[in-house]
Every structure is written in structure tokens, then in C-alpha cells.
Amino acid sequence: MLENAPSLKDYKRGLPSKPPAPSSARWRVLVMLVGALMLLLAIIGVNVARSDRMAYFTGTGTVTGVVIDENGKPIQVQVFVLKTNIAIQTDSTGAFQVSGVPAGQGSIVVARDGAGNEFPVAVVAGSMTDLGQIKFVGTRVPGQ
């Protein structure tokens, strides 16, 4: 009847540890799950901050200007806002107005006949940024 009873040798190193209360194990799992969720949210936040979607949070502004050629005459060109899908055409006076441009440091490209020029622009949310006259130099020579 006592064949399966523990012997004194089994307790050579002291009494065995008591199993933890079930609540402490659940608490540790909960802490780790919350930690994992916070890390996941941080990863998502970093990737959103790096993406074009950030514009929805930082706001947008308007950019205006007049495009002229090397002789100072207004010309009709396409205007693109980099890192967005915004594309418009200047009017016959070379003037353009682009709305919905993400706030912050950005660039616009004016292009014609396969060649383009890039111009930096600093946009303030809710404001209009006037680039004034910008000169388009568009020699369509592939190697030049």
C-alpha cells in the first residue's frame, strides 16, 4: 500500500515548489498578449507614417504657379505631384493650381514632350503656396 509513497530521497533538495496559482499564469499570458498587441500597433503606425496615407492625418494644401519656357513665355505643360496620383495641366497662360497636396516637404514635376523638371515645394495644411514663375527646361534629347 505504501509502495508508491515518496521516499526521503525525493526530498533531498527540499520540498517541491508549489504550482503557481492559475491566476498568475493567466496574468502573465495577458501581459504578453497586451505587449504583442502594442508592438503590432507600433509596427502598423510606423508603416502608416511612411506611406502616402499619412496625408489624411497631416492635412493638405494648395500649390499655385506659372510655368514659363527658357524665353520667359508661358507654356502649357503637365504638372505632377510626386508621391501622389495628382496630375493636372496648366492653362494657356501657363498657370496652374493644385489642391489636395499633402502638407510638408514635397516635389512637383512639370513635364512636356517626354521631359520633365522637378521643383521642391513646402506645403502648409490649409494654406496656398505660390511658387511664382517656374522655368521649364525640356530639351527632349535622351542622352542630355
Binding site: 503557481p20 499570458v29 504578453m32 508592438l39 513635364a111 520633365g116 523638371n117 542622352g143
Partner: protein, 228 residues
């Protein structure tokens, strides 16, 4: 006797160890994201350094048996004697990809005639290309290696130029290698760095080739691999 370390707490089961591993993995991904490192490239670099090359092979390889992997946006492209042949005229040929960082290697790149050829990288929207091109360009300012940005099919002035007036441009098969990493692009000719540029506009995209005017060029093979 109770152990006080997080990993040594009595009663910890396999689910807790799994959660700890998940936490560590998420922390690593967060650090890579904050530092702007492409996670896939970091993974491939890690496994390659351990010699597990089979786990992370080339993203794309083509020895030009046919043009099945390519989209012709314009120009005269064909297979001749197992090589890709381009020109004459303005030509653009693309292979779409979604990777961000990679090393693009073109073997047997030979300019037969004309003012040069281009190699596209991080390119999207083939018919109105957005992306970058490296140009082997004897026609630019007496001969230069240049990098250009493209916006809706329009080429912009170079953002990187390395003059090479005494370079042997014609009828020499070259290895062109372009390392595309973060916002920095490094071009090597036959293993030697010739031009380097930086731009943050485009973060991912495919590869391609370009000819223009009187150019006739040949290319033997192309490979796109994780950044080493």
C-alpha cells in the same frame, strides 16, 4: 525554490514560450520598420550569412530564351542568338516586380552602336513609367554614367552623373550591377563602382531596359537577387 526570471518561472507552459518568441519577433520587425530596413531583405541577408542560400534565392532570373517574362512598352526588342537585342529607336522593356531592395545584375551588356542604353529599376506603370534608370551613356557630355528619375513616362535631368570620357564604350560585353537599397542606388561596371545616387520618391518596383535614337544593344542574361 522559486526562480524569479521571466523565462524560469515555474508553471510556464509551451504557450507562454511561444508568446515570448512572438514578442521577440514583433520587436525585431518594429526595429527594422523604424530604421527603414526592408524586412524581406534583412531576412534574406540573415539566412544567406548562415549559408542557407536555398531558403532565399533569386527574385528573378532570365537568360533570354524568349521574351515571355517581359512587357514591351515601346521599341524593337527581340531574341538573337540567345541574347536580348534592342534598338534602334526609343524602346522600353519591363519586368514587373514588387520588391523594394535588390541587386540587379546584367551580364554581357554590349553597346553595338548609338548613344547608350538604360537599365530601369524600381519601375512601375510600364506604359507611363515611374521609376529610375541607370544609363550607360557615351552620348551624355562626352561620355558618362548617369541615373535619372522618370515621372509618368517623362525623363528628368540626371540626379547622379559620373563623367567617363576615356571609357571604352563599344562592343565590349560588360557586367552591369545596380544595388538598390533604401534611398541609395549604386551602379557597378565589371565590379567597379561607377556612379551612386540617392532619391526617396520611389520605394519599390521592377526592372527593365531602354534604348533610344540609333542605339543597338545586346544583353546576355539578367538576375535580380536580395541585397547582399
Amino acid at each position: 525554490m522559486r526562480r524569479n526570471s521571466l523565462l524560469g518561472q515555474p508553471g510556464q507552459g509551451i504557450s507562454e514560450y511561444a508568446l515570448i518568441l512572438v514578442l521577440m519577433g514583433l520587436a525585431v520587425i518594429l526595429i527594422l520598420s523604424v530604421t527603414g530596413t526592408d524586412v524581406a531583405s534583412a531576412y534574406c541577408k540573415a539566412v544567406s550569412s548562415m549559408g542557407w542560400n536555398g531558403l532565399c534565392g533569386s527574385y528573378f532570373v532570365d537568360s533570354f530564351n524568349n521574351l515571355g517574362n517581359w512587357l514591351t512598352a515601346s521599341g524593337n526588342w527581340r531574341i538573337e542568338n540567345g541574347e536580348l537585342a534592342g534598338g534602334v529607336g526609343e524602346g522600353r522593356l519591363f519586368h514587373e516586380m514588387s520588391q523594394s531592395d535588390y541587386t540587379l545584375t546584367v551580364n554581357g551588356a554590349t553597346l553595338k552602336q548609338g548613344n547608350g542604353y538604360g537599365v530601369f529599376f524600381r519601375s512601375t506603370n510600364p506604359t507611363q513609367v515611374n521609376g529610375y534608370s541607370f544609363q550607360y551613356d557615351p552620348g551624355y557630355g562626352g561620355g558618362a554614367f548617369i541615373m535619372r528619375k522618370w515621372v509618368n513616362g517623362n525623363e528628368l535631368p540626371p540626379f547622379a552623373v559620373a563623367s567617363a570620357p576615356n571609357y571604352n564604350w563599344y562592343n565590349n560585353p560588360r557586367q552591369v550591377q545596380i544595388q538598390v537599397k533604401g534611398n541609395t542606388y549604386s551602379a557597378y561596371m565589371d565590379g567597379k563602382l561607377v556612379v551612386q545616387g540617392s532619391d526617396s520618391t520611389y520605394t519599390q518596383g521592377g526592372v527593365g531596359f531602354r534604348t533610344w535614337d540609333n542605339t543597338q544593344a545586346r544583353f546576355d542574361s539578367v538576375a535580380v537577387d536580395p541585397v547582399k
